[in-house]
């Protein structure tokens, strides 16, 4: 079974036409990969479907706007994968 990171990296590569080799766990979706908010909606849709969750994008955006979180916490891919794992675990609890 592929890891959460592998799944989201494949989704990003396919959705945004970004070479898979250039996507690493350290990649920042916005700053490094140049993914804009519209493309991220497609990614979120694919992630929601793949994991059976609902990424709380509005909550994350609000936290960043309020200075309570950094974009790194949600958009560096290893961190995004960790957030997804948390959501999947919460769903199963």
């Amino acid at each position: 079974m592929s890891s959460t990171f592998e799944t989201i990296a494949n989704i990003i590569a396919e959705t945004c036409d970004i070479p898979r080799d250039s996507i690493t766990p350290e990649s920042h979706a916005i700053n490094d990969l140049g993914i804009d908010s519209l493309d991220f909606l497609d990614i979120a849709f694919a992630i929601d479907k793949a994991f059976g969750i609902k990424l709380p994008l509005e909550q994350w955006t609000q936290e960043v706007s309020d200075g309570k979180a950094t974009t790194d916490q949600y958009f560096v891919l290893k961190n995004l994968a960790a957030r997804i794992d948390e959501l999947v675990a919460a769903k199963g609890a």
Binding site: L38, L41, F45, Q59
Partner: protein, 157 residues
């Protein structure tokens, strides 16, 4: 359809919140300045307006699901297929079904039929957010009432 006001839905025919789908009706006007240019001697309903009609239908569904507390804006259109010509006077049935309700966005499958024949379809993504101002919130309620969509309908589906 009030093409000059970009209001493409005449009325909501059916709203099923449990199944998350909506059906609307719209009659393509017999006469419009749009047809003077599109096209001279061969008036056709522009495909982009059919796409807009699907987006507006989808928007009414999402507005109803959100009980008119939030506004939907068209974000993307995928797999749009314009299968046949749509002529002045056609009565269109426009349907949309929610595929996925995400955080701040919604994805819907929409289609337009004429006399039971599918004339176009697309997958529509809408951004869903707070109303940018109260004026728009109020105007949307008025427009909803004009197409026969009341908060009571939205509450009960």
């Amino acid at each position: 359809m009030r093409l000059e006001y970009f209001q493409l839905i005449d009325r909501v025919v059916d709203l099923d919140l449990a199944d998350r789908r909506i059906s609307c009706e719209a009659t393509v006007p017999s006469v419009s300045t749009v047809f003077e240019g599109h096209f001279p001697g061969f008036p056709l309903m522009p495909g982009v307006l059919l796409v807009e009609a699907m987006a507006q239908t989808s928007g009414w569904l999402v507005s109803s699901i959100n009980k008119f507390k939030r506004m939907s804006f068209l974000a993307s259109v995928k797999e749009a297929k314009l299968r046949t010509f749509v002529l002045p006077g056609y009565v269109l049935q426009i349907e949309s079904k929610l595929v996925h309700e995400g955080s701040g966005y919604a994805v819907l499958d929409a289609k337009v039929k004429n006399n039971g024949k599918q004339v176009c379809d697309a997958t529509i993504t809408l951004r869903v957010m707070e109303f940018p101002n109260q004026e728009l919130a109020g105007e949307m309620l008025k427009m909803a009432a004009r197409v026969g969509l009341t908060p009571e309908m939205a509450a009960h589906g």
